[in-house]
Point group: D3
Chain length 295, copies 6
């Protein structure tokens, strides 16, 4: 079903540019149940301009409601994943905020920051798992973005940079909140955020930022597709309930998490998917052979 | 005292089957102060049947009150650690829950889930440290079980699988709550839980799920015994206070944890064990040479 | 500016002993904006005596208010980083606490513990990042100390030991609270705290306790200086805001952390440093070429 | 400025019906800076139909962004405040939810509940204070609504009823969460929610649900206008910052609340409003004499 | 159905003493669906002896599982509600705790306190609402007990006393934790707990500790019966879900409470009770006319 | 012992002005174990000037360590309790904060606010209960102050005003955090904080802000003395443990509070005070007849 991956990967090539109504994202469905979201401003190194921040919200809200989508793969078009903030395009918002006095400027800045934070939080709120595949540079806002995704993959030539201190500010759209919950070494998180040094693929793997490294982009995209396929072929009740509860657990004590889980599953266990899956398991069938209702 | 470990390990062999009143667990005391709990349904690959869920609770409640036990080693009899849920035996509870309407079925399912969660939470509530030693497969409920233990060891041939999505449900007895607090890489946790792929010993070690890998089961049991011996010979006031506060810290901020710790130790520091230990240290004696009162 | 590091490192040598008014710490400023704090009781293996516990508080409170300091490097004089608690000097406080009955002794012990906890919490409260460089042994209280620092480095010959269970008590000045939030493997944390075994440099690196290992102390100090230099040359508004929000995030959910971050940056984004940094970036200048106001 | 209130109250009369684009709400601006939101389906006793749930969200989002509005007064047209849920109109959503199995129906119901919860949470998220004025009956969803408002007033003939248990469900759009934080007596809260008994104006006042009782609707509307006027004439930076921090405090410890407050005010204290207000105070002028910039 | 209450009240008279297997409690079912639990050691002023602490746990665990019980009324036999702790009977546990040193004594005391706390927490864990009716004195442990109940009633001659400071200890089985969440005035809570003064019925009512005061015990029991009847005749899915979520809300932020509520009701709204209740409401029938399945 | 109160009250008169080294506070010990702290700038209506903010911290830190003090009574000298902030004296700090840009000004303002918050938090941190007695006006900072005290009393002529919105700012030293946890009616809290209206003694009593109202200052001081006497004569282990746990409970869930309480009392129950108190109780002696060791 999911093969040959390489043919699919070629399907995912985004030579046609952004998908209407988006100007910074190319959306496609290379195979059933899987949505591919591609950052697509290659000539600008996929830098995040004003349009990007609201298009992401629209895009993931749509995916959340799309019953035909069970998993998302995200990647970047062109030479790299993303150069981060498009400082030129966004200078107004950040460097010349409006307001009659400091308090009013602050009030407006807070609204702006909150809106930008939502751009990545929307990935977490979307119940479908998001696999992100990074090649080349992933800078500044790019790190904020990928830490909000569920599974991170990269190529051997990828590198990551928490860039914000370099432009005089503390990262405020997610990196400082999510990165420490994404990798295990606190010393490393602090070093990256305070020195803005680059981290390369090997360290990203050994530190746990990514769970797999691939030789090149083509191999990575094939790997991402296969992994996404593993997810898409399973019960959406099981998969999306798993994502929701993993995120709940991150922010709560174990006891709180167990209580919520029990309350969640008291209805979700009544799905037909359990019976279907159990039967398939006993008949030694692959999960891929089971047809689940949409969710 | 603790040697020769290999002789002891042979003592731990559970050829005699489960220990009354248990039908799924074999309990022994290979050496002073150490309780060995063995999953013992080897002909069923130590699958977790109905009896298991309540026997675990009785067993660990008893251990908690047993002043002669200072540390627990847990392992599986036969070819593997555990195949997880015994779907056949438990189908009733899960697939045919009782109740006159959806709400009442949900109410009953919630009680069942909560009861099953308690089966592993009881390991955390037991103040004696639990070292778990895994060989072969550790599937589904097995992962829930080991993440509730304090120290995890495995053999080179061990593998781990968060199996629940494969049977159409989100894992609800602990894995989604504890696994992310047990290993550092969030991307890996998500990958395991969403794809149900197997993780082998090397990745288990590099990701931090286990802290040591051994060549085979015999070597692992010797290692587990030695490590447990290191714990058993130390002050039980120190050891059990350490376990309790490590768990408290997991679920609280650093400031909250420090406050609780200070309140804990305001009495516990008044133990004679400090004086005994300090004296032994100054006399360059091993902790094993000190006799501590029971706790 | 920051070179040649080796000359600087020699500047940091503390042959002259503690710096008045301190008797256990040597304070220096090898280069602009950087404070070097050295544990300096080499003849006592930098063991933590009574004076140490209060001198640390004074020292870091002073650093917090010192606008000329933007980053701190901490290390130990002599053969090792620290042997931990100076049991002889502190026996009174711990082994013979005052009070007319158990409750009153407990009350006094609680005050003592709380005061000692503050000795390391003061490092976190200080908004300037602290890079700690460990060579040789780092035992007991030493582990409490370094887990309160922001970035950890060590030499190839360094080793770490959570020693407290060996003297009959649960570690109560920070290790049990901070170590699990500093490294990713829970099994390893528990093993270290419950068995008091030594952990060597390689495991410290692979587990994430330190983010870099150096061949010897001289190389480490040069590395620490360079890393600190990378931090000191950047906007203090960005750097100190980053430290504060990283710590806030550790103890809060992602949503709470984002909310706090937005409220923090609504004023901090109005700094001139953003404009200065952006300009430098566009002119391809190094951050070191920008002059920032003091904070 | 704010007088004569009775003339204004007559201005607020909503004889013209709902205000486009709303079909259930009449919006007006009886005086500068004040928005009057009236539940306006008098022939249906202001019962909450499908349109209502989304119109409230649109309405309060608009108010949140309307710089000309500094305070909101809410009331009901016709004989009573509201009869609560319009069961007929909403039966579909609640009684015949869609989905292929129990899990999928649950999933859809959860989305619906969450959407309905948002209808009242939007009142809290709106930074402008909301004064609600209740006459006659306030039933079921009406209690959910008013507990999300900031200040509650009522007439002598008003009564309140937590009606949900009467239709076989636990109240799920806010009453069970907010009522206990709004009035002081837990025994009373439980009694109201578990027995669905009516509470009349006097008990509403003595229990703290409302802070004032008026003889009739006209007097109440005049009182509401005057109180709203007191709020509208003050610095919006002060007023809206107060609302935001009061809500933050409700859900956090005192220490957390103080920390957030300090971070909030580090910018907000830099408003010109403080200087203007202080000057007015010293010149013994009323706050109403000061002109503040919009926020 | 529920009348004549006075006859029922006479049914509740407990002239026959404790109900086997209990020695301190008399259990009866005066009417369908209602369990009456009576403290029954009148000759000892219902003082709480050793047996009481464990009998309460057994009693409420049984009630929790008893599908025929939908509501509980609790009261005291004889001249008063309870004199609190039976100091004579319990002196051993508290005044002569066992253990070889201070730490071990502390360890044992902590187990004892935790066990005693469970005696009242079990009331909260029981999903059926508990109406407590107090006459005469309610001292010490009695206050701990009633604050764990859902609805509190009293007679005109009732008085309440937080007695613990009078015997040299801080109340440790619930009063200090629950009383401040049960009544609105913090100043009053502190005064009662710090001075051990008596509070009489009028102040208990005005402060919100009780929601109703009755002339004498007979009137109170009739009132309690009627209120319990109001609860028992409603959908148990609605009632018990309401209790559970009210308690959840007490200990969580509004946002957390709403999230939990939505997850709870996604299954519970699928009950037939909603349809039955809605139909009864439209046909203007009383809730008492509807027959609900057991839960 | 504690009588005649009126003579004592006269002892408390502070005709001699502030007590060295304080310039705004008069400290006395009218009777054993009781410290009287008087706001003493009567000619300035006890307005809070710069000196006041640091003197309060010194004063309460000293009281915390003073074993001869078991309870504190606080009141104001002259015509009123306090007029709040001394705007003239403090204008610099607030209206002309220092710093090179908005971020640096904000940074400094935050330090200032945090320091001011500590002025009242120090009352909570002091383990001795604080009874505050208010006559005449209690404005602005006065409300922040009294909400940090444990028990509030007032005279019939007292009034309270949350004044901050009147000078263009959200109250930031405690009122918005503590007032909602001190009184039960949320609507009233919001009304007071958003409109800055005065609240008089009767409403203060019925809302629970104060627990008693007295005819005049002399009667109030006699009442405060008597109440403080009730506290001072009881076991300090019981009293101070009660204060600490009441405050802990305010900011935690019931389950968290119970856990902390058990850990607290495992040592504190070992006090001799329990035996002494129990013996006195059995011998029908008053608590005042028992001599407790200092704490």
């Amino acid at each position: 079903l999911w093969l040959p991956a390489q043919a699919l990967v070629r399907n995912m090539s985004s030579s046609d540019g952004p998908t209407s109504p988006y100007t910074t994202l190319a959306i496609s469905r290379p195979v059933e149940s899987l949505t591919h979201v591609e950052l697509h401003r290659p000539e600008k190194r996929n830098a995040m301009n004003k349009a990007f921040w609201s298009e992401m919200v629209d895009c993931f809200n749509e995916i959340a409601d799309d019953q035909d989508c069970r998993v998302v793969v995200m990647s970047g078009a062109g030479r790299m994943f993303t150069a981060g903030l498009d400082l030129m395009d966004m200078a107004n918002d950040i460097l010349q905020p409006k307001g009659d006095d400091v308090a009013r400027i602050s009030w407006n800045l807070r609204k702006t920051i909150t809106k930008y934070q939502e751009t990545f939080s929307v990935i977490e709120k979307c119940p479908k798992p998001v696999v992100v595949a990074v090649h080349g540079a992933c800078i500044g806002g790019g790190v904020d973005l990928i830490t909000a995704c569920d599974i991170r993959l990269c190529t051997q030539d990828a590198w990551f940079q928490v860039k914000e201190v370099d432009i005089g500010l503390a990262a405020d759209v997610g990196t400082l909140q999510r990165l420490p919950k994404v990798i295990g070494s606190r010393s490393l998180v602090n070093e990256l955020a305070l020195t803005a040094r680059k981290m390369f693929a090997d360290e990203a793997k050994s530190s746990g930022l990514v769970s797999r490294v691939f030789a090149d982009k083509e191999a990575m995209m094939a790997g991402a597709l296969e992994m996404a396929g593993q997810i898409a072929c399973r019960s959406p009740v099981a998969v999306q309930g798993t994502k929701k509860n993993l995120l709940y657990s991150r922010d709560h004590s174990v006891a709180e998490g167990l209580n919520y889980m029990a309350t969640w599953n008291m209805s979700m266990l009544q799905t037909e998917d359990v019976m279907k899956s159990a039967q398939a398991a006993m008949e030694k069938k692959s999960p891929k052979a089971v047809v689940f209702s949409k969710l």
